[in-house]
């Protein structure tokens, strides 16, 4: 069992409250996942030609020396900020060089996300403790997904926690279990994909990222996942511009969606939505099986 939540803000005036709104959603899902928690926040963009790289450390990290290495590599001043055991670096958009630098000079660090918008924070512990350690309450942004984990198929560690990201600005959380992840992982490895863990959800994230890399849209890549991934799942996925929800064709894993003029929210259970402003007037429904539901700021702007 796990709990998943997602919040997509339609009203930009709520963006300063993104973390404050997401925290009670995540904490309400503690009974579904008390061993680890994590969240992907789509926050403010860095300056042009820069990307945000979120790093997690298993032990106390010397972030200053990491910054010094990046400054030497890029021959420019580097900015970063520390949250809990993670740090977000604003770096020139040279993903391969960044990955190489981390692997060679700081093997104890793990890249949780790369992107213009995305920051991923995840850790073992009760959701309330994880949220407060990272200061989720204060985080701002346009949308977010989150996860509370009760591990079944792989170990309990920050690396095994959700959300997973496998390509810039893409994040995925999962409630359920995949039965063919070893086969899909092998095929992706042969195509050159590198994995950080033996977790089944990482395979799903990498599969969808691989499809996105082939030029598929997020909606199309999620449709592809229906054919390629066998097992039980409710997924919530985030991209730079939007948010999507998908359940497998049996739809045994729960999900509820709610929408008002100001936001779209999803959760494993309704009670996680109960504290949202305007919930009493929200349109509430259960997403159908094998159906992609998605929202994007671009589409909202076009419709306006």
């Amino acid at each position: 069992m796990c709990g998943i939540v997602g919040l997509f803000l339609k009203n930009p005036r709520l963006e300063n409250s993104l973390g404050r709104l997401l925290t009670p959603m995540l904490v309400e899902m503690t009974e579904r996942g008390p061993d680890s928690a994590g969240f992907a926040i789509y926050g403010p963009e860095p300056p042009q030609k820069r990307i945000k790289v979120t790093l997690s450390a298993t032990e106390a990290a010397d972030w200053e020396s990491v910054a010094a290495d990046f400054e030497q590599l890029f021959e420019t001043k580097i900015e970063y900020f520390v949250r809990g055991g993670h740090a977000v670096f604003v770096l020139p958009a040279a993903e391969a060089a960044i990955r190489q630098c981390i692997a060679a000079r700081h093997p104890g660090l793990h890249i949780t996300s790369i992107g213009r918008h995305l920051e991923i924070f995840k850790q073992t512990g009760l959701p309330a403790d994880v949220a407060s350690r990272f200061g989720l309450d204060e985080m701002i942004g346009s949308h977010a997904i989150g996860h509370t984990r009760m591990a079944t198929e792989s170990g309990i560690s920050a690396k095994h926690s959700h959300p997973f990201s496998a390509v810039a600005d893409f994040s995925l959380v999962h409630n359920g279990s995949l039965s063919n992840h070893n086969g899909v992982r092998d095929r992706l490895r042969r195509a050159g994909v590198i994995f950080d863990s033996d977790n089944d959800t990482e395979v799903a994230a990498s599969y969808i990222a691989h499809r996105l890399g082939l030029g598929r849209s997020l909606n199309d890549a999620l449709h592809d996942a229906l054919g390629a991934l066998d097992g039980f799942y409710t997924f919530a996925a985030g991209s730079a511009d939007g948010f999507a929800v998908l359940r497998d064709s049996i739809a045994a894993k729960p999900a509820v969606l709610g929408e008002t003029a100001d936001w779209v929210a999803m959760a494993s259970e309704y009670r996680a939505l109960a504290a949202l402003p305007g919930i009493e007037k929200a349109h509430l429904w259960e997403p159908k099986p094998a159906t992609v539901y998605s929202w994007s700021h671009d589409r909202l702007a076009q419709a306006a």
């Binding site: 509820v256 309704y270 109960a274 259960e286």
Partner: protein, 230 residues
Amino acid sequence: MNTAGINIIDLDTSSVRELNASLHSVAEAPSAWRVLNPHGKHSLAVGLEAAHKVLIEGHAGYYCGGMNKAAEITVRGQCGKGLGENIMSGAIRVEGNAADAAGASGRGGLIVIEGDASSRCGISMKGVDIVVKGSVGHMSGFMAQAGHLVVCGDADDDLGDSIYEADIYVGGEVGALGADCVEKEMTPDHAEILSQLLERAGVDCPAESFRRYGSARKLYNFDVDNADDY
């Protein structure tokens, strides 16, 4: 609290366990109850043996009214998974929608859902009557054994999959029938049963448009024609 003979329990200040303990402690004296601020909490008003009238003023979580024996429970909102699971008798009414597996394994009584019900509505039902004013999701009536499932709207794919017995009445469209589920003749007797169910449920829906579905009874036993496979 007791105002005008109505017991009020506010779940912002009382726990679900306190609510259920209160409802169980006065089993021999049926009374009226209002439950405030449910906020989607699970297992509200479960296992009620007394003929209480319980009004839940908001959304309920999983298993609301489960194992009900005699109470009349009304939910002024939506319900989560497993509404009235294993209901024995009594009645549950939901004014909004219900999530999946409403009435699961129910042995008797009546469940009325005024909105839509999600997937697997009436899964393994064993005698309960379920009336859904809206539509139902996929695999409703899965392995149903006895009772009636009435759907005024549409039914998604795999309706009545692996059904043993039980009658399913659908007023709208049916996506696809599940394994061993077939359309059956609507005899005057069945039309009468349907009309009575709609009346008991207080659902105003013309009975003429309904079609009846049930078991082809081909999955009951091993088919001897398969013996050649060995």
